[in-house]
């Protein structure tokens, strides 16, 4: 792996009784994009503010490229850290033009040089010709890109982005997300990107960190986090997940919805829970094989349907189906679980290691 850009060691920060960041050990490698996700109030914004230097940690250390910026009696002011920040509401200086905003952090260059550099950055974010405009003359997406250019221009060691797309319309958001990712890759910057939108988090990051109440629940590449959520919380937070209780048998895991052929390395009879997502559950007319269930409701999502199902015990499952397959609420159906991959399996609330042996 490449050089470490950011490292926190047992970082702690409380506000009164609220422990916003608890014992955080986090490492981000140079040039990587880390998505940080969690429910509101989980401490993700506090983490950014600690890294930027707007908050002082109660204990622990922060290293930026081998330089200690906080901890062990050291505390570097924000302006001495070289950490760029893209704020949720962009925080463009309203009294300065786009050019002056982007040039704001380029303090040491000569005027001409500075303007040239700004032009380059504006070209990179696709805003050539906007240099003389004022922030209030720009659309939301344009402001976003100016904020990005402003943060990138001084070539910071790290760029922090605090829910940068939350002020955009839904359709612009998807487009901006792609554009911004491309720009960040081109600039080769290390980025920590905070969001509460799981789709955004899965898309943007090379790695994905899930926070809960100031603690890091899991950090890994997005696919792993999605497929093997380390805790029930992570599974619930990323994508619609139902927890299906079962017991270990020699043939696999016996659940109410049938046997899931999967090895877990536990003695038979142990109670476990399977994280079942909508795409793992199949649904058929009553004459087919499977376990009887009732369709409770249908969520029509356009290209697909999600059905909410109730098993005889009251256990709820969801099933993802093509938009052409329509079952009316109240109908009897048969369900079966056919994931085609190992389901995340929890024993006493903890994820069991994947044995990667399927029956």
């Amino acid at each position: 792996m490449s050089e470490i850009a950011v490292q926190t060691i047992s970082l702690n920060k409380s506000f009164g009784n609220v422990r916003a960041v608890q014992d955080l050990n986090l490492t981000v490698h140079r040039g990587n994009i880390l998505s940080v996700i969690g429910p509101s109030g989980c401490g993700k914004t506090t983490l950014l503010r600690l890294l930027a230097g707007f908050e002082q940690p109660d204990s622990g250390e922060i290293m930026l490229q081998d330089r200690l910026v906080a901890g062990r009696g050291t505390y570097l002011a924000p302006e001495q850290r070289g950490v760029g920040m893209v704020f949720q509401d962009y925080a463009l200086f309203p009294h300065l033009t786009v050019l002056e905003n982007v040039a704001f952090g380029l303090r040491n260059a000569a005027r001409r040089q500075r303007e040239l550099e700004v032009e380059e950055w504006l070209a990179l974010v696709g805003l050539d010709g906007y240099a003389r405009r004022y922030p209030h003359e720009l659309s939301g997406g344009e402001r976003q890109r100016v904020a990005l250019a402003r943060a990138l221009a001084p070539r910071p060691v790290l760029v922090l982005m605090d829910e940068p797309f939350s002020n955009l319309d839904a359709d612009r958001r998807v487009q901006m997300r792609e554009e911004v990712q491309a720009i960040l890759r081109k600039a080769g910057t290390t980025v920590i990107f905070v969001t509460h939108d799981q789709e955004e988090a899965l898309f943007m990051g090379d790695r994905l960190a899930v926070f809960r109440q100031g603690r890091l629940e899991q950090i890994d590449c997005p696919d792993t986090v999605f497929q093997q959520p380390a805790t029930r919380f992570v599974a619930e937070f990323l994508g619609q997940t139902d927890f299906l209780p079962g017991r270990v048998t020699p043939e696999g895991i016996q659940t109410e919805a049938g046997i899931v052929a999967q090895k877990v390395g536990l003695p038979a009879g142990e109670p476990v829970e399977l994280a079942v997502r909508a795409d793992d559950v199949d649904l058929n007319l009553p004459r087919y094989e499977g376990v009887a269930a009732e369709v409770v409701s249908r969520y029509f999502k356009g290209t697909y349907n999600v059905y909410r199902l109730r098993l005889p015990s009251g256990q709820v499952l969801h099933s993802l189906q093509p938009h052409t397959r329509i079952f009316l609420p109240g109908t009897e159906v048969k369900v079966s679980i056919s994931p085609g991959h190992d389901l995340a399996c929890y024993f006493q609330g903890k994820l069991l290691p994947v044995t990667s042996t399927r029956f």
């Binding site: 302006e79 001495q80 920040m85 704020f87 925080a91 402003r150 943060a151």
Partner: protein, 541 residues
């Protein structure tokens, strides 16, 4: 089919303008009711124009007169220097009370805003009663040090000092609001781009304050331009005083109206500048992010100079005047000063001010309603005409009404009616402003849905709009009432013979240096003026 009809109805409504009142009778009535007071506002200026041009050559020569030029220079110099000094006083206090750990900053922020409730003639009276000949200070010096003569406080220094202390709160309030409303992310962004706290203050914070300070500064300049009380008591010949002297001593109509017109032109100029800065000020939070409290700067040992500065301003602006007032009040009571005349004057003041409040609001409502609900070119013209009342100093309105009544309606001359009319012209903008603000908060869709449920426009107004804007109406009336209580020049000139009010009571007592006699009515006036401030302060928290 039904759906199609709904869509087309909405479309036609939006084409016609969002709020259109198409029922002719109601609409026509509203327009008549709105145009009448607007015409009233224009009357004084039209008359003055007429008078000045009638007098022809003598009128023209007035503009080139050396004396007029001097008055102009004096007025401009006073306005400019007071505005500058007020900014210098207000901005540091705003920053200290919002963004630092100044001990007792909440208390300071209230105290420092309070001098604005003191009417200028009372502030001037209190200053003369302290520093002036036969004032408190002079008496002490005479008693203890045997010093008989003090350097004169009259003229520019006195007027400058008083007006600065009365005007800086306007800038202070605006600057405080701007500092509180500023997005802390702006300063953080600047820090993350490598700037030290001081650099951030100079390059990001101060520029953000500029629009608020400019707006407050213009208010201060307008205040000085229109002020009659302080410059008169301080005997500094700005336009208002010269106009009054011309009228009083020479009864020279032509030159008084000419001078008054120049004054109106000056105020209009300032107002034009003000509205320009207001439309160009785009300095607002760009989005509604999480409203975080901005960081508080630690003063450290700078705490002491900061406290001394703020304390000195509050002492000279508030504590000393109030102390002087209490001193003369006590002394008056000891000397057997009669309270009966004060009580009679208070009744007169209240009578005139209640009438002013009721009639002004009645005149303001149709204008505000039309401009809030019907954005046509005519309604915005109407609104602008009303606001030009701001450009009319009390002395100008009073003068014009005197001349008009003498020429065309003598039985109105020196009647209460004329005084109320003057108040209406002067305070209409204020009333329209407050009604309009509350009307704009009431969604016009409410009226439209009442209409769609079968209510007539009048019924919608009575059952929906009026109950919803009632707080705004009452607040507007209270403001007019209190401003009318304090008003001096128009009251002085237009009051019926023997109709003494609190304001004219203070004035006449001060002009004869009966400081003790002025104390009781002055105290009453200050208490009345403080009511809206107290209301604002308590509703804010």
């Amino acid at each position: 089919m039904a759906e199609v009809q709904i869509v087309s109805a909405e479309q036609s409504a939006s084409r016609a303008g969002r709020f259109s009142y198409r029922r002719p009778a109601f609409s026509r009535l509203l327009w008549v009711l709105a145009l009448l007071p607007a015409g009233l506002v224009l009357l004084p200026v039209l008359y003055l124009l007429l008078r000045t041009f009638e007098s022809g050559i003598s009128g023209a020569s007035l503009f080139l007169n050396l004396g007029t030029l001097q008055t102009l220079l004096r007025t401009a110099a006073l306005s400019a220097s007071v505005t500058f000094a007020a900014v210098v006083v207000a901005v540091p206090i705003a920053w200290l009370t919002v963004r630092t750990d100044l001990p007792g900053r909440k208390v300071w922020s209230v105290l420092a805003a309070l001098p604005m409730v003191i009417p200028s003639y009372i502030a001037a009276y209190l200053m003369v009663a302290f520093w002036g000949p036969r004032g408190m200070f002079a008496q002490w010096l005479g008693q203890w040090a045997g010093i008989e003569r003090l350097p004169s406080i009259y003229g520019f220094p006195g007027a400058f000092f008083i007006l600065t202390l009365l005007c800086y709160p306007y800038i202070l309030l605006g600057a405080r609001a701007a500092l509180q409303g500023m997005d802390p992310a702006l300063e953080e962004a600047a820090r993350s781009l490598g700037y030290s706290p001081l650099q951030v203050f100079l390059r990001v914070t101060l520029p953000q304050l500029r629009p608020a300070v400019a707006a407050g500064g213009l208010l201060a300049a307008l205040y000085v331009l229109r002020d009659f009380g302080a410059v008169s008591i301080m005997r500094y010949d700005t336009f208002t005083r010269v106009v009054y002297v011309q009228y009083k001593s020479a009864f020279d109509r032509a030159s008084a109206s000419g001078l008054a017109l120049i004054l109106v032109a000056l105020t209009l100029l300032l107002l034009a500048v003000e509205s320009r800065t207001r439309t160009r000020a785009r300095y607002h939070r760009s989005a509604s992010g999480a409203a975080r409290q901005p960081a508080v700067a630690r003063l450290g040992k700078w705490r002491w100079p900061a406290l001394i500065f703020t304390g000195a301003v509050v002492t000279f602006g508030l504590i000393l005047p109030l102390g002087v007032l209490l001193f003369w009040l006590v002394r008056g009571v000891q000397a057997g000063e009669q309270l009966a005349p004060v009580w009679a004057a208070a009744q007169n003041s209240i009578l005139a001010s209640v009438l002013a409040a009721v009639f002004t609001m009645a005149a303001a409502f149709p204008i505000a309603f039309l401009s809030a609900r019907n954005s046509s070119r005519l309604s915005s013209l109407l609104e602008r005409v009303t606001y030009s009342g701001y450009a009319l100093p009390g002395i100008v309105v009073a003068l014009a009404l005197v001349f008009i009544s003498i020429n065309y309606a003598f039985h109105l001359y020196q009647s209460l009616v004329l005084l109320i009319v003057a108040y209406m012209i002067l305070f209409l903008p204020q009333a329209v402003g407050s009604v309009q603000a509350s009307l704009l908060q009431v969604n016009g869709n409410l009226e439209e849905s009442a209409r769609s449920l079968g209510a007539s426009p009048l019924a919608a107004l009575r059952k929906i709009t009026l109950p919803l804007v009632k707080p705004g109406l009452l607040a507007g009336m209270a403001m007019v009432f209190l401003t009318a209580m304090k008003e001096l020049p128009a009251t002085l000139i237009l009051s019926p013979l023997g109709f003494k009010t609190l304001a004219t009571g203070v004035w006449s007592a001060v002009s004869e240096a009966f400081f003790a006699q002025a104390a009781a009515p002055a105290l009453l006036l200050i208490i009345f003026s403080a009511i809206p401030m107290a209301f604002l302060t308590f509703t804010e928290h």
